[in-house]
Symmetry: C2
Subunit: 174 residues, 2 copies
């Protein structure tokens, strides 16, 4: 996909393509369209992060609360967004042993009880063992620290989703 194509998109088309770069937060995609035309793809990406950074802590917590649990009820019931489904599968979360799934469910529950938002991690940059370790370790942190870490992970997820979009529509060179 070239930049001119993106800059020429109506907001509707832009929402169709970029609507889920932040999980279940099309509001952010819609806000970013206000900043077009973009001079580069990194500038577009930066507009997403600037918008997120401008939100009060409650807004950042709101973003985290739009994220599903890892290997949680949405995965089990098949109601994940296609992006999350793909990311959780790639991290091996769709083929956990029952013992691991139970352990992850318990840790997710403890995390949510402690912080009031779900554990968010860029699953594509990890795997099920690392995710389990990371979750146990982050459970020990303070809330402010976890909010920052969670939002940093949201940005990593967004970065990879954007890369997928940019690459997907580039004509393959044979």
């Amino acid at each position: 996909m070239d930049l001119n194509t993106v800059n020429a998109m109506s907001y509707g088309h832009f929402m169709d393509i970029f609507g889920n770069i932040i999980e279940k937060c099309p509001l952010i995609t819609g806000a970013v369209w206000s900043k077009h035309p973009f001079s580069s793809f990194p500038e577009l990406e930066n507009c997403v992060y600037e918008f997120i950074d401008s939100l009060p802590p409650s807004g950042k917590e709101g973003i985290l609360r739009c994220h599903p649990d890892l290997a949680g009820r949405e995965l089990m019931s098949g109601t994940l967004t296609s992006e999350s489904q793909h990311e959780q599968r790639q991290a091996g979360l769709t083929s956990l042993s029952q013992a691991d799934r139970e352990r992850l469910t318990l840790l997710n529950y403890q995390y949510k009880e402690k912080f009031g938002f779900p554990f968010v991690i860029c699953a594509k940059m990890s795997d099920r063992n690392k995710i389990m370790e990371e979750l146990s370790s982050r459970l020990q942190n303070e809330k402010d620290e976890e909010l920052q870490t969670g939002i940093a992970e949201v940005k990593k997820i967004c970065h990879l989703r954007l890369q997928d979009i940019f690459v997907k529509a580039v004509p393959t060179k044979l």
Copy 2:
């Protein structure tokens, strides 16, 4: 539903119940949960509006861009949220004559071309004739004015959706 029930909800339960009070913006619901416990239902509602008012213009435009067209492609393809489906049906938008639907499609298009966001109106407080008049008239406004008007309509929609939630779970007195 009583206030204690709402205040005792986990964020997950709260998102399930209140997630679409602002169309396709669960981020806002998530942000509002940060403010619980609420001293009253109006206070909860006020938290929603305060969050919206705190957003920069791009964020408010982002909210409008999450809204479907009236009698648009989502209605035709059956992909509206259940709340929008109900509201558009109640306003008579599911039973337009072909001529009216074509006129509305053209006006929606002109509105979006001019403002870069969709025409938003609290359909439940209106009907198809008033909606058509209002759309023709608002098309003449300036962008800033329309952004304000659109957000005021978003709040009216939210108010009615909240009322539906609060009332639904109140035990019927026989």
